[in-house]
């Protein structure tokens, strides 16, 4: 494959190719629909023969996430991927990673729930992703791609942010973005870090104790309440820094907007179509697309709430992100939610109808 070549592929395949190209050291995962193409693509590409990247099909999602714990804890760039029920199984390991401050990437190509649910697309794991999901006070840095291109681009970005802040990062995708085929330019090749570079860049990692340095212990355990409180306060300071420095979002036609749609991932693509139809009718509707779901672009939504007559949170779920929108808006303007569940993906027309009825949008 040549650099800058435009290719046609699925979002899941783009994740796999991007991982090989961005210096990923290891992938550990377990098959589950609708994301199995990630492991399948890696198995076909055999990166262990080219970049030296390890690829292993684990015995379960529980094992997968603990392999990420082990690999990330030893300073390597490692990732796993799964879909909603599998990511539910991983929550223990993610909480341990957050507590032990281990970097690593978890990709969730969401399907409908709860429980075994459906294999069709959903955004029903917003709460699970942005509220921690496991036990204790912690966050995971969450990126929400809305295109195959972003599936490819966010792999390296997630690793960079994850190592910068020593926090687990998640790409929260869904069955639409994972399965849809679109054009994509894969990121340029970046070599894997050498063991010496890892030891230098991750002086905290359990890489084997060299010379007289203190031992490195990767752990989330501390029995002394005073020490555990101190550790928790350190984590909260880190989360505050991330809130202040890592918020990402995209705006479309918000300059003159009277009404605002907030949507992420595949829902944002549907919203774009709905907005172009409504703009053609002369209705001034704009889009704010959160790219980071945690940290959430609360400040920008708060600013826009001063400008618009109403905000619609459009999600493929029963209304989860709408809670964060309401927290940002604090009652300044009406906030409503529209979404569908069960693996049904709403159409632009349904969204337009919802906007008209829920916010009484008219010229």
């Amino acid at each position: 494959m040549k650099e800058q070549e435009i290719l046609l592929m699925k979002g899941n395949e783009a994740i796999a190719h991007a991982a090989i190209r961005c210096g990923c050291d290891g992938y550990f995962g377990y098959p589950i629909t609708p994301q199995s193409e990630i492991l399948e693509t890696l198995a076909v590409e055999k990166p262990w023969e080219t970049t030296g990247m390890v690829v292993l099909q684990a015995e379960s999602e529980v094992a997968s996430i603990n392999m990420i714990y082990g690999g990330g804890g030893s300073g390597k760039r490692v990732m796993t991927s799964s879909s909603s029920p599998g990511v539910a199984l991983m929550q223990e390991g993610i909480a341990y990673m957050a507590g032990a401050e281990i970097p690593g990437l978890i990709v969730n190509v969401q399907r409908g729930g709860p429980g075994l649910g459906t294999i069709q697309p959903s955004q029903g794991d917003y709460f699970q992703a942005t509220r921690g999901g496991g036990n204790g006070d912690y966050y995971v840095l969450v990126l929400a791609p809305s295109s195959v291109q972003e599936m490819a681009d966010f792999v390296d970005l997630a690793f960079e942010l994850s190592f910068k802040h020593r926090i687990p990062a998640m790409i929260l995708s869904d069955g639409v973005v994972g399965q849809v085929m679109e054009k994509v330019v894969l990121p340029p090749f970046k070599p894997r870090r050498t063991d010496e570079e890892i030891e230098r860049e991750c002086p905290w990692a359990s890489t084997g104790r060299k010379g007289k340095r203190p031992i490195n212990v990767i752990t989330s355990l501390e029995l002394l309440p005073e020490a555990m409180e101190k550790h928790n306060l350190h984590l909260q300071e880190k989360y505050q820094l991330i809130r202040e420095t890592e918020v990402r979002y995209e705006e479309q036609q918000t300059e003159d907007a009277e009404y605002l749609i907030v949507a992420f991932g595949s829902a944002a693509r549907i919203a774009q179509k709905a907005i172009s139809i409504m703009r053609a009718e002369g209705l001034r509707v704009g889009l704010l697309r959160p790219i980071t779901l945690w940290p959430f672009p609360s400040k920008r939504i708060q600013e826009l709430s001063e400008q618009v007559k109403g905000i619609l949170s459009f999600e493929i779920n029963a209304g989860q992100m709408v809670e964060d929108v309401r927290l940002a808006v604090e009652g300044r303007t009406p906030v409503a939610h529209y979404g569908k569940m069960g693996g049904i993906v709403p159409t632009p027309d349904e969204l337009i109808q919802a906007l008209r009825t829920k916010l009484t949008v008219s010229k």
Binding site: D25, N66, S74, R209, I218
Partner: protein, 251 residues
């Protein structure tokens, strides 16, 4: 007397990798002896710069406080998955887990069996004292029939609790294992044999010969409600009857 104290006359000394932190283990517990053996073996092999241990949830959760190498502390039962990744990503390293019976043979059975069956180049040190020590003496997967614990106070019985699990015998059946052995540390002779077993398992990891499992049949005098001497005697009389000491597989 002063002439005797010289380096050439040393017959025994504490391994330098075993630090001076006071151990939290109860008097008579086998963990302290096994910790010392691990420190000795790593030191004698000269691989402390390449050694990474994975400690469990259970009494040995704080193993990292006593042996001065790099460690990772695992979620309950997940140590073999963590060790799998470390060894695959650092293939020249000595990677071992240190797990109790509840961690390895109950909540972590899947991770244990699959890591061993894949032939991961890791060593697993398995402390089997037939009881949950850290949580205060509850029934373990390896609790003997008739044995009393806090959660089988009238003795383990098959219809209520099922049977004790011989996971080491299962491990010996797996294609991925190259060395499976059962040892103990209740006498000087047993300690010497256990040390040789740990050394063999660690060399297998370094040389990537496959998975090794070293079970140490151990005492838990607190959980068993016995003095250390009584516990050793009880282990010899009851545990060895069911958990036969010796090599199960040497490839």
């Amino acid at each position: 007397m002063e002439n005797i104290i010289s380096p050439e006359n040393i017959v025994y000394q504490k391994p330098t990798l075993l630090n001076d932190t006071d151990m939290h283990y109860c008097p008579g517990c086998s963990h302290g002896v096994v910790h010392k053996l691990i420190a000795e073996v790593i030191e004698e092999m000269g691989v402390e710069e390449k050694a990474v241990g994975v400690s469990p949830v259970g009494c040995a959760v704080f193993a990292y406080k006593y042996i001065d190498i790099d460690w990772q502390e695992a979620a309950h039962g997940r140590a073999p998955a963590i060790a799998t990744a470390i060894k695959r990503l650092w293939p020249d390293h000595l990677v071992f887990t240190y797990q109790g019976d509840g961690d390895l043979a109950c909540i972590g059975t899947a991770e244990t069996i699959h890591a061993l069956n894949r032939g991961e180049n890791i060593a697993i040190i398995f402390i089997n004292n037939a009881i949950y020590g850290m949580t205060g003496g509850q029934m373990a997967p390896t609790t003997l029939m008739g044995m009393k614990t806090a959660t089988c106070p009238y003795g383990r019985q098959a219809d209520l609790h099922g049977y004790p699990l011989k996971i080491t015998e299962i491990a010996a059946q797996l294609e991925g294992t190259c060395y499976v052995t059962r040892q103990s540390v209740h006498s000087v002779a047993a300690i010497r044999k256990a040390k040789r077993a740990i050394r063999q398992a660690f060399e297998n990891s370094i040389n990537r010969r496959g998975s090794s499992l070293v079970e140490i049949v151990s005492t838990c005098s607190s959980g068993w409600k016995k003095t250390p001497v009584e516990a050793n005697k009880w282990m010899e009389e009851h545990m060895f009857d069911f958990y036969h000491v010796g090599d199960l597989k040497v490839v």
